[in-house]
């Protein structure tokens, strides 16, 4: 199990895998937004939390098809399926590897991007906390979407159509938590809801992803 995780991580590090890509994409989004809405710093400060959350979501989406597609193409997914590891574990490991390579860097660098977006000082802690709580759910849900579309030729666009509606609750609670943090309001309720969603998806969704993957490998 750990070997699989290490293998996935190593693959992501090497050969221009998703590791730096997500961050670069995030940076581009943050750079482009002021061009779109204008450079007024008070406006940017107001929408900063939402933009950062949207950027995290899109950066996550961008790297989803890499989770399973490469393994599917070279046949190592079939090998993994015959391994003594249950499919649920494989899927969870895949999601974890995806989070470590895209979600975690985003969380760590979010304060820097917050700086670019003129985020008020009170907002940093809630923002980082909300991303830390929310991005694992994004990875797990994304793995489900990737498992659904793994056998398809033109899966990319379909993948976003399937996954984005599933991201709605996470996005709402995550962005709400960050926004309330910026305004100095109480963040407990959205934080608990966000944590609940993340725990629920981590606990339950791997079963669905594994079932889907088994169907696709049939």
């Amino acid at each position: 199990m750990i070997a699989l995780l290490i293998r996935d991580l190593r693959l992501a590090m090497r050969a221009g895998g998703g590791f730096g890509l997500g961050l670069a994409f995030f940076l581009i989004v943050v750079t482009l937004v002021p061009f779109g809405v204008g450079p007024q710093s008070d406006l940017l400060a107001r929408i900063a939390a939402g933009i950062l959350w949207l950027g995290a979501l899109l950066a996550c989406l961008l790297s989803l098809d890499r989770i399973l597609a490469l393994d599917w193409e070279d046949g190592s997914l079939d090998l993994l399926a015959t391994a003594p590891l249950p499919m649920e574990a494989i899927v969870s490991i895949k999601a974890l590897a995806h989070w470590l390579t895209t979600g975690l860097p985003l969380v760590l660098f979010a304060p820097v991007f917050g700086l670019l977006m003129n985020l008020p000082e009170a907002g940093y802690k809630p923002l980082v906390l909300s991303l830390l709580l929310g991005t694992p759910a994004l990875s797990v849900i994304g793995t489900f979407g990737a498992a659904l579309t793994v056998g398809l030729k033109r899966g990319g666009l379909l993948l976003s159509l399937l996954v984005l509606p599933l991201y709605v609750p996470t996005l709402i609670f995550g962005a709400e938590m960050a926004r309330r943090g910026v305004e100095g309001l109480d963040i407990t309720t959205p934080m608990l809801m966000l944590a609940g969603i993340t725990c629920g998806t981590i606990a339950l969704l791997p079963f669905a992803s594994a079932a889907v993957l088994r169907v696709n490998l049939r």
Partner: protein, 245 residues
């Protein structure tokens, strides 16, 4: 009726025979009640003292919104039946219902927007109910797209039914999340069994007829489309056998 007898209709041939027998009646009833309900509602109901004549939109808005949700529920049930008992008709019925549900959602959204313009002064407000319906519409689109994208029928049925299950959970979550996110302009439930005073009787009876019409129309369309799916699948099977032989 014995519940076990219901499973007999999971046989495609029997399903086609049975639905062929009832389909004309249901269609006639659907058209009849739709025409009666809408004409009654449009021509013979008074104006609301606050909303003026826009209250007449209710005869389209409420039934279509109801059917938009019920269609998804029906897809959820038939998906479960497919997963548990693997009756092909069930999976195909879910596939047949999805576009109907999507159109119902679209009607609810469109009439809602048109109604909102004079009442709230805006075509679109990020009101919880409107937003949830938009999200529901996205779910329908994803579901239909997944059916279209997969070639193998059984794989498609498996994957879409799991998507339907997962999607239902997330749709419900989104509903509550959206509620939490924004307080709405929307009025509360306009229809419920115990609180009839919500909608005055003059509006209530034609509305019931319209709802019946939408339900019947939905059933007729789902029967017809399921038949089509069964035939299309049989056709593919025959063609494949011919090519092999």
């Amino acid at each position: 009726m014995n519940l076990n007898a219901l499973w007999a209709y999971a046989n495609p041939k029997k399903f086609i025979q049975a639905t062929d027998r009832v389909l004309p009646w249901i269609s006639i009833l659907a058209v009849l009640s739709l025409v009666v309900g809408l004409v009654w509602g449009f021509f013979f109901t008074p104006e609301d003292y606050r909303q003026g004549s826009t209250v007449k939109i209710i005869y389209l808005h409420v039934p279509s919104a109801l059917m938009a949700i019920n269609a998804w529920l029906m897809m959820l049930v038939t998906s479960l039946v497919w997963i548990v008992r693997r009756h092909h008709v069930s999976a195909l019925a879910a596939r047949a219902a999805a576009p109907v549900g999507a159109v119902m959602t679209l009607i609810a959204l469109a009439t809602g927007a048109i109604w909102g313009q004079p009442m709230w002064g805006t075509w679109w407000a990020w009101d919880p109910r409107l937003t949830s319906f938009l999200i529901l519409f996205l779910f329908y689109l994803g579901y239909i797209a997944l059916w279209e994208a997969i070639e193998d029928d059984d794989t498609a049925a498996d994957l879409t039914s799991i998507l339907c299950l997962v999607g239902s959970v997330f749709a419900l979550l989104s509903r509550y999340a959206v509620n939490f996110w924004n307080q709405g302009l929307h009025q509360g439930a306009s229809l419920s069994l115990d609180k009839e005073e919500n909608v005055a009787d003059v509006f209530y009876y034609p509305l019931l007829v319209c709802i019946a019409g939408f339900v019947l129309l939905f059933i007729a369309l789902v029967f017809l489309r399921t038949q089509t799916e069964i035939r299309a699948r049989r056709m593919r099977a025959l063609l494949a056998r011919e090519r092999m032989g």
